[in-house]
Symmetry: C2
Subunit: 439 residues, 2 copies
């Protein structure tokens, strides 16, 4: 594969859980490792909903990729975006026009939200994938209350205080719980004309139950817990229409100023880069060692990989899967470079999944036990803080949480940025055409 005298060039596309895990396995090799990401930061996505609901600051859940990798002298970081791969010439092409030669390529480029053919809905129902998304959602949620406070018309007020979440996977459920907390606790004494307690939160799910990836008992527990928090849940209810004024579901119109899309992901256009036919949801089918069946020098891991577990089921798009795949590929490459020829296939070690439901409840589906309520919530807190990259983040997140928990306050409740970004319709009242300027 490689001439034994050359220093192998390994390119990793994406610095999410998978890419960083692979990079860190390769850190002490005699190799030239390049990590490309279009962001300068690794994002701890499982907590993004807390930024969107003003509990955490962006810096609490993100770390500069350069800092994470600064002690690996064989590794450089490029802030750039991949636009294509020439597998014959073994080159990665980027947005800036750079061409990077590789001997081995690890594609860990992640996923994006899937509107299932309704890309026009994106305008009215943004998804939660990046820090900008989270800040835009935070801004628009907080502005909805501000506008409602000024709104004389009762019906318009009701529309402003209605939030619809499309999709009841972990993101939809955790957002619903956090929005309910924000409304019923953090904001409760801040307004004079409206009562944020009257916020209506509707969780819409096409499938027969929420949190379908959890066992039925746990998802039933979560369902009851959310309803006790005042959240309306519509299951078996595919969304029919999304527009500026709200949504249509089960043939009925729900007037809502804020609609957030939490309904499924697809891989970024990796198949197009690699010139391959995608499997389900744009993912790339990989072999047992996570390399392409047609090209042993290209690996695909994480959300972009279509990969079956030992039970034959497709592996879910979880950070834990991506991380283990990154570690596996990193070790495999290290072994190959040492001349080893072990071909032990990738095996996902499922350590369980967790989802929170508001202030002190959660569900946990662990291999050895299923937990609900406070014990699951405590476990969730410990696990998430522990896995955050970097001590500082851990301390700041912990401090924020303890403080928020004690006071019900929201530390990051700032409305920042332009009124119209990210495809949101403006919800700030403006008499004149001219936009409100900052200066």
């Amino acid at each position: 594969m490689l001439s034994p005298t050359s220093v192998p060039r390994i390119v990793i596309v994406g610095a999410g859980f998978g890419g960083l895990a692979a990079a860190s396995e390769l850190g002490s090799l005699r190799a030239e490792v390049t990590v490309i990401d279009r962001r300068n930061h690794h994002l701890f996505q499982p907590l993004l909903y807390q930024v969107a609901t003003a509990a955490l600051s962006p810096a609490d859940i993100a770390a500069p990729i350069r800092s994470v990798l600064r002690d690996q002298s064989n590794t450089r970081v490029l802030l750039d975006e991949v636009v294509g791969v020439d597998r014959a010439a073994r080159k990665v092409r980027t947005r800036s026009g750079t061409e990077l030669d590789y001997d081995l390529l690890i594609v860990a480029a992640g996923s994006e939200y899937n509107y299932f053919g309704h890309n026009d809905w994106r305008l009215f129902a943004p998804a939660l994938k990046s820090i900008e998304d989270a800040q835009a959602i935070r801004r628009n949620v907080l502005l909805a209350y501000e506008r409602a406070e000024m709104e004389p018309d009762a019906e318009a007020r009701e529309r402003l205080l209605t939030f619809v979440l499309v999709g009841a996977g972990p993101t939809g459920v955790e957002l619903a719980g956090a929005l309910a907390e924000l409304a019923r606790a953090a904001l409760v004494r801040d307004f004079r004309r409206i009562d944020p307690k009257h916020t209506r939160i509707v969780l819409v799910e096409a499938g027969p139950r929420i949190l379908a990836e959890f066992p039925e008992r746990l998802s039933a527990f979560a369902h009851r817990a959310l309803e006790r928090m005042g959240i309306e849940i519509l299951v078996g209810s595919p969304i029919e229409q999304i527009e500026a004024s709200g949504v249509v579901v089960n043939g009925r119109r729900i007037q809502a100023a804020t609609v957030i899309w939490c309904a499924g992901v697809k891989a970024v256009p990796v198949a197009q880069w690699l010139d391959l036919r995608p499997a389900k949801s744009g993912k790339i089918e990989v072999g047992p060692d996570l390399s392409l069946p047609a090209d042993e020098n290209v690996f695909v891991i994480g959300d972009a990989a279509f990969c079956r577990g030992h039970d034959g089921k497709t592996l879910p798009g979880l950070g834990a899967v991506a991380k283990q795949q990154g570690e596996y590929v990193g070790r495999l490459i290290a072994g190959r470079l040492r001349g080893e020829t072990t071909n032990k296939p990738f095996h996902y070690n499922d350590q369980g999944t967790l989802a929170t439901i508001g202030r002190h409840s959660a569900i946990a589906n662990l291999p050895w036990i299923k937990l609900t309520g406070t014990p699951a919530w405590l476990l969730w807190g410990v696990v998430h803080v522990y896995f955050l990259i970097g001590f500082r983040n851990r301390a700041a997140v912990f401090l924020n949480w303890v403080w928020a928990w004690l006071t019900y306050a929201r530390g990051a409740r700032l409305i920042i940025g332009e009124q119209q970004t990210n495809g949101w319709h403006s919800i700030v009242p403006q008499q004149h055409e001219k936009a409100v300027t900052h200066e």
Copy 2:
């Protein structure tokens, strides 16, 4: 002035240091108090440069206005922008089309940066006034390093690593120090091709010395300390031209990708709202009780007020002045409503001024002593943390500082947002016309 049976309506424009101080004096009155601000947050402006240089998160230095005032049941908060005042009809008109009746009006609308007739410079040299400004500057400073790391041409690299600060008041000096720290400590091991230590920081000042508002001895100390940090200082050097490629000063061109404007402020268009002729820098001349000579029901305080101290000198645009003026006007109004007729004029109690110079040095000009170096820096830290509104902010800022000080790390080093906002020229390399999208 008021019929004794009516509940007086007091409108406060602006929730900066002055507006909030006035509001809090009025909190227990039998009155209808309305605070209008175009932001939902009070901003602790003296620390904004720390957000711009990635040491603090926006939420660390800002607090939602509603939270600050939530316990004052006679006070409501409006997120809106004033566009005019009808003094005859005693109405405030806002951007959203609302007309607010007032019996007493307190204008505490603050200041904005003054480009002294060169508004075209704003495009290339943004100022630091809002959280968005700070985030844009942070993004562009960090992107300059990213781009330099990718840049093959030595001259272009040098331009990317040159930062010019126009104006050597406290903001310019503190930014210069913080940028030098960022370059020489926080980023130092993060890059492979460039050495951030070679960052060139140029502080350009039209007047004869930096920090002109401090005594000469202190400003000379700061000058030497900044030079020891490697910062180039050009005094007596009015800026002649600012364009995309850099600046012209003393007839010489300095190639610089990042130019930041720190050179003087003017009042927001308060004179226009009030239909009055402005005094210097757009400010409104007020009487000894801070009301308009022509209208005793309208007060102007803070940066928007032109006001002389007991020594005849104009009061500076400091948070401390605005705060004391707000307290004074609040108490004056409370007295008037109780039927008192004291006419004690406003007196500014100067408790001193401080400016930091990087990692553990500062200057302090106090009424009873002048401090330099570490003692001044310690005083500065204590004072600033103490004055931050809200305990949580205090704790988070303290934690961030201790951590940053121990590790030289920067917690908030995220590049967030669109590539082109706030008038910055794009510094991300793009081969294609199409902008890099987030999704």
